[in-house]
């Protein structure tokens, strides 16, 4: 811990206050979502609350109410896509990030194409991809065009995360390993990988969550079967009930658990590394 034991400067209290305000600001709409998901059965999407109940949660699991649409299937489809996306993003972005450690012809191209991919409106990329597939006579389905379309969104972010993570990376570790006779595979496995592991996990999580949220590029390329964001967007057009808020609360809980688990895993890895180091130096 830094400065452990030293007294706190006045700025600390001021900044803590700012931070608290900020968190409240971030959570503003979410608080509405959480509260309204407990809306009474006759209630609507805004205040005032008409009683408190778990009614909308039961409707959600029941699967038959108005405003539920095909959420169940859409959810599992999304989960499946997200999992694959997370892994794919992680592998491809990590490899690409690693490639940037040297100057090579074409590196600018890679970088700028990532930027371009991020700023092109999703709908355009989606339509462009659909049209391309059509011209080449391929049918669109979730596991190639749908996935590909989402990757155009998640990979640039993954790459940028890699930039950040590798930017922190102290090359002297690697040099020391080389001096000790490690070849490139050993260098990667034993030096580089453990250090960038948090970054990789970050990319995986980012891949997962960005896939879950992404609607514009996916909808045109996923073939039949909606993903969650698509289903929700479609539902918003017809009938909405606080079921949506119930979904919001539940997905938050779900993601919360997911990240706690991730953090625990990362902490474990860090601790094991510490143990290994102290054992070795003992």
């Amino acid at each position: 811990m830094r400065d452990a034991g030293m007294p706190r400067p006045a700025s600390y209290y001021f900044l803590s206050f700012v931070f608290t305000l900020f968190v409240l600001f971030l959570y503003g709409p979410m608080i509405c979502v959480y509260i309204l998901s407990f809306q009474g059965p006759t209630g609507g999407m805004s205040f005032p609350m008409q009683g408190w109940s778990l009614h909308w949660f039961t409707v959600l699991f029941d699967g038959n109410g108005r405003g539920v649409g095909d959420i169940h299937n859409a959810f599992w489809r999304s989960m499946r896509m997200c999992a694959i996306m997370a892994v794919a993003t992680m592998l491809i972005a990590t490899a690409a990030g690693m490639s940037f450690r040297r100057r090579y012809p074409g590196s600018n191209f890679v970088f700028y194409s990532a930027i371009v991919s991020m700023i092109l409106p999703g709908l355009f990329v989606g339509f462009g991809i659909a049209l391309t597939f059509n011209i080449f006579g391929l049918k669109s389905d979730w596991w190639h065009s749908g996935l590909g379309a989402q990757l155009t969104w998640s990979l640039p972010f993954g790459l940028l995360i890699m930039f950040i993570v590798l930017g922190r990376f102290n090359p002297s570790y690697e040099e020391a390993a080389t001096d000790l006779g490690a070849n490139s595979r050993q260098r990667f496995l034993y030096i580089i990988l453990p250090i960038i592991l948090p970054g990789i996990i970050g990319i995986t999580t980012a891949g997962f969550t960005s896939s879950y949220q992404e609607a514009a590029r996916t909808s045109l390329n996923v073939g039949t079967g909606n993903t969650m964001p698509m289903e929700l967007t479609a539902l918003l057009g017809m009938a909405t009930t606080p079921v949506m808020f119930a979904i919001g609360t539940l997905t938050t809980l779900f993601m919360f658990t997911l990240v706690i688990v991730t953090l625990v895993v990362v902490a474990r890895i860090a601790k094991q590394r510490q143990l290994r180091l102290t054992r070795q130096s003992a």
């Binding site: 609507g44 805004s46 989606g126 057009g237 009938a239």
Partner: protein, 436 residues
């Protein structure tokens, strides 16, 4: 014998051979919704046929899909998409869709494109029972229906089997199977307005400054605005639903004036937004859909779908098969089967209970209770609770539907949802409007 077994139907399915040309028998099972007579295709391999139906959020959902799959021998794969995504799929990858349903103005995008399959009139069983709005463009009393905007009759028939041109007079080739229609108007909060509203012109009444809303978009929002502008006397139109360039300019310029004066609160895009706006009292008068009005009411908030003296805005959704389906004769038969099923009764009753009119009411009537039929179609007061397809109570006894019976509303259409010839110019000027 075919491997296809009767699927859980209570009153027994009798199967007729479609090839023999026998008509299906419509059973009566009051309230239970079981229809006899389907499937009428007798083939062992239709079990393996899967049809992809992509449609709007009003016409596709798991409840309907479940029933369709129960009653037909093949699989229906329903997907709900917003209009833009659906159109993009239809244009870029038509072979991924077998049947599409959409509002009839969108049909204009397909003229001359050979994407859709013309339907031979003799293969569709219910054309004679279809509402005359489609059959010959008249109201029930024989009067010609309004042609302002995109009236259904304009895209009901193809000139011939090539499907390249439309015909305004009946032919043997249908463009689509009509599914749903309704008449829209303003939804209002009578408790916040406290006086009768009678005219579209009230949209621009300064009394409601900052408290009105329209649907965003040129196919619905602009017709509503045009109705209001005409009622105010601000602009004169030849055909509000198909404006000339000068009319468009005048309309947009007037709208920009009102926008800058702060007349509008918002332009909603989704159903939910329209409900939110008026339920929360942000808005007291806005363009709305009928189920949205009902939704507001089920929350205990007074809301009326107010009939206005200038008339209603009408719209229609229909289903059309895609051309590529003809390459597989078995699939094509299944598609026709499905289309016939859609208007054979169960689906029509379902649609009616959500507040829209089915195109073949006679088939839906036996499956609805007298109370329901009276309330939804005849403009009579309800004698009991009116329940929606999911079991929620929409109205109690003793309530009359806003606007009255089907022909009080559908017989008083001033303008239809539209896609104008000058759509390109209109969209360009609409951009100016939003940026103002």
């Amino acid at each position: 014998m075919s491997k296809i077994k009767d699927k859980k139907s209570s009153s027994g399915i009798s199967r007729r051979d479609l090839l023999k040309g026998a008509a299906a028998a419509v059973g009566t099972a009051a309230g239970s919704g079981a229809i006899t007579g389907f499937p009428t295709i007798w083939a062992q391999n239709i079990q393996n046929v899967t049809l992809n139906h992509v449609g709007s959020v009003y016409t596709t959902n798991p409840l309907v899909a479940e029933e369709a799959n129960k009653q037909l021998g093949f699989t229906i794969n329903m997907q709900t998409l917003d209009t833009t995504s659906q159109m993009n799929r239809l244009l870029a990858q038509p072979e991924t869709i077998d049947i599409a349903d959409m509002g009839n103005p969108s049909l204009k995008y397909f003229v001359g494109k050979d994407t859709l399959m013309p339907i031979p009139i003799n293969e569709y069983k219910w054309w004679d029972k279809t509402l005359p709005l489609w059959v010959d463009g008249t109201y029930a009393n024989g009067e010609q229906a309004s042609r302002q905007g995109f009236a259904p009759i304009l895209s009901a028939y193809y000139a011939d089997e090539t499907g390249l041109e439309w015909s305004e007079t009946p032919t043997d080739w249908l463009v689509s199977i009509p599914l749903v229609t309704n008449a829209d108007t303003f939804g209002i909060r009578p408790d916040l307005i406290n006086r009768p509203i009678e005219s579209w012109a009230e949209l621009f009444n300064p009394e409601f400054s900052g408290r009105v809303a329209l649907q965003d978009g040129v196919n619905v929002g602009v017709p509503d605005a045009a109705m209001a502008l005409e009622a105010m006397g601000d602009v004169q139109y030849v055909n509000k639903g198909n404006m000339t360039i000068e009319e468009i300019d005048k309309t947009i310029d007037k709208l920009i004036e009102y926008k800058r004066a702060g007349q509008f609160r918002s332009f909603w895009t989704t159903f939910d937004q329209s409900v939110q706006l008026i339920a929360s009292g942000e808005v007291v008068l806005q363009s709305m859909f009928s189920p949205a009005v009902t939704e507001v009411r089920t929350r205990g908030i007074p809301c009326i779908f107010q009939g206005l003296k200038e008339g209603y805005r009408g719209w229609a959704i229909s289903a059309m098969p895609l051309r590529h389906v003809t390459q597989d004769p078995l699939k094509r038969d299944c598609v026709m089967e499905y289309l016939n099923w859609m208007n054979s009764g169960w689906y029509g009753a379902y649609i009616s209970r959500t507040g829209y009119y089915t195109s073949v009411p006679d088939n839906a009537k036996p499956l609805m209770t007298e109370n329901e039929w009276g309330y939804w179609y005849e403009g009579k007061a309800s004698t009991d609770d009116i329940i929606d397809p999911y079991g929620k109570v929409m109205e109690k006894a003793g309530v009359v539907r806003d606007g009255g019976g089907i022909w009080d509303r559908m017989g008083n259409i001033a303008i239809w949802n539209t896609l104008m010839d000058e759509d390109r110019y209109l969209v360009r000027r609409w951009q100016d409007f939003i940026a103002a």
